[in-house]
Amino acid sequence: MSEQFPLAVVGRSVERFDARDKACGKAVYVADLHFPGMLLARPVRSPHAHARVAAVMVEEALATPGVVAVLTARDVPGSNLVGSRGVRDQPVLAGEKVRFVGEPVALVVAETPAAAESGVARVRVAYEQLPAVFSPEEALAPGAPQLAEGGNLCYHGRIKRGDFQRALREAALVVTNVYRTHLVDHAFLEPHGAVAVPEPDGRVCVWVTAKTVHPLQEEIARVLDCPKERVRVVAAAVGGSFGGKPDIQCACLAALAAAKTGRPVKVVYTREECFQTSTKRHPYVMQYTHAVSGDGRLLGVKVDLVADAGAYTGESRAVVGRGIIHSVGPYYVPNVEVEGRAVFTNNPVSGAMRGYGVPQVVFAHESQMDAVAHELGLDPIELRLRNILRPGLTTITGQAIPEGVGLEASLLRMREILAREASAGCGEELTAWGLGCFHYGNGRTAVEDVGRCRLRQEVDGSFTLFVGVPDVGQGSNTILAQIACEELGVPWGTVRVVSADTAQTLESGPASATRVTVVVGRAVVDVCRRMRELLAGKGGETGPPLEVVAEFRTDATALDENGQGNPYSTYTYGVQAARVRVDRLTGRVRVDRLLAVYDVGRVVNRILFEGQVEGGALTGIGYALHEGVQCSEGRVLNPNFHTYLLPTCPDAPPVLVEVVETTDGVGPFGAKGIGEPATCPTAAAVANGLFRATGVRFRELPLTMEKVYRALRG
């Protein structure tokens, strides 16, 4: 482990740049934007999960007072198909078919919200309903309607190493179980929205709430059939993303309407629209087989994982790709057979949600580990210590673990903390602690991930750092500025940040994949190092202010046909423990204390770091206990916050957050990311605590009161 010497700015809990503005209601989100002559646009959405669009009749809507335009697929000048990550299979406005309830079929553009609503009611769409499928099982059955040209299999990935069959023969203990996880929503407080403003020179400026702007610029340009340079995309203040923003259709629709009408156009989704039409966490069905030696060593693991991709590809390939890589957990397993599939259905599109396919597998692999520990009569921490990845060992993709990995230290520290924590139940409550141990690759999976930035010296001696990645609320602008001040050797306050404006920033990838600290942070270190060298070279001479650009590329590699390679340049490791209390009489489960020990290399800003863990852990508790999108035949039955139950303030347990000080040296000053790691192990810890408290193993999320009540009565 490397020693960590104290730094001047990195490591300090400096106040984040935008805190005061946000506290005063001065931060500007897309819905707050107003431009002279601005129109409002409302989508017309399919009530059917799968149907042919025979005709869209807009005359009556167009005749409605206040309606200025009604757009359909015919009005898209360029490409009507968009998508993230290069797979463009989702229409901006449905042309021939709709594949999910709520898919947009037309857009009504009007002077007022009331006129827009009237217009929407008057658009007549003739649908011919088609047979639909609502689960991967249905979709893969023979004779099932094929949703895409290539069939219903969206993605198939595998990881194979060693000889699992031999491990099975040699095992003293074999544990096989099926785990199921459910549909949950990002539930960011700020709904989707976009405002597109035509500029006098013929360009269009699109204000968005998004985790990325540069790829959106490309998509909009393709839709409008114009050069990229004619489109400017700028992120307004973002009211939370958690992977779920932008809604590409929303941004493209606003741009389309602005191009057609020549006026600014605002599109803002209602909360119901967000629940019905925006992306969700992939439901997984996972079969796990653990082959274990008599002394608790994992000889082999077999995983078969099927994910519901929903109606279009979205980010399913990368989500399930990441899921299978993380599927056995942070353990050394020499023999594995992992298969992962994503399947199209007529459900809402599953997409990127904080954890990106990993919280589901952590629930499964940690439940398996807990079951193994229980069978062998081993302490859960002891079992993990016997199996965790250590320097010199390899992951299931064959990646070698370097020095400076804090997994063992995290577990040992957790053991110390647990030893002094109370666990006794009282009265009608059964109480127990549950553990969830995990790892999370920083950066985009199995590709050379690139971070870029620009640094400009100002005439007053301050600096401006231009970064392509939006601050989605986690405080990335602030920590990147801290890294910059540290590397430049200047006091805090000397560097300001301009982010997420395609006219000013370089493409630097999205705020996702827990990549910003490492991948963009390293680019910031490099650009500041170059600036220092140039400034030293000038030797105090005056001259034009300097401007420097830098790029950082990870050493991640693609995976071969057996899933072998180095998918990430570094990993965050950690363990959470949840104290679960169960009411014997009602089955109600609550978490009244949460412990978290993390190896994030070095913490850049302690308060921001804690905020991520506190927020992520509560999201994980919601995932475990009471959140759930009730989807029936593709329709969301609970599209609001009184029936989709988010954790509220009284639900939040106290969270103790600790870090172990170690680094593998990859991140800026050794720092690694926390955004998604904050939420990955929580549901697993809660499920394991529930087993320890009740003696009943639950293998399906969420762990509702009804399920527990029934199980307690046998």
Binding site: A19, G25, H34, A114, L189, R271, I607, G611, V613
Partner: protein, 169 residues
Amino acid sequence: MDEVTVRVTVNGEARAVRVPVGMSLLEMLREVLGLTGTKYGCGAGDCGACTVLLDGKPVNSCLVLAAEVDGHVVTTIEGLGKAGLHPVQEAFVRHGAIQCGFCSPGMIMTAVGFLAENPHPSEAEVRAALAGNLCRCTGYAKIVQAVLEASRQLASLEHRRDAIRGGTP
């Protein structure tokens, strides 16, 4: 469409506006008066992002008709701490209780209204008071710490004010 005149004091200023009868207080604040600090999060009174003070009490402005506030007093986030930050705002900033910031105006207004009624709350009372304000980013931990700190700041300000006026020490 039928319209109605609403005479209301907003952030200390007397206003008179003509609005459609069905317009909510939230829409009137954001679209007519240009006060966009108050947010639309759900439109159904579940999330609290639209919280403002109506005669000093926190309400979900998405559930109040603009017409209902005729003759009343409304305070929004823009009306807090006109000379510098209000102690609740200051505490939110200092404790890291703000991440994406979208829930913050509503959360802060609820806290201000609550502390005016209950100046020395326990942690449990603070949590119960904020139960109607949803936050997806912070896990509420630093929000609760901030409100408790603000209660101590406000209490000490009151204490100093009383001492200056010659009240009880």
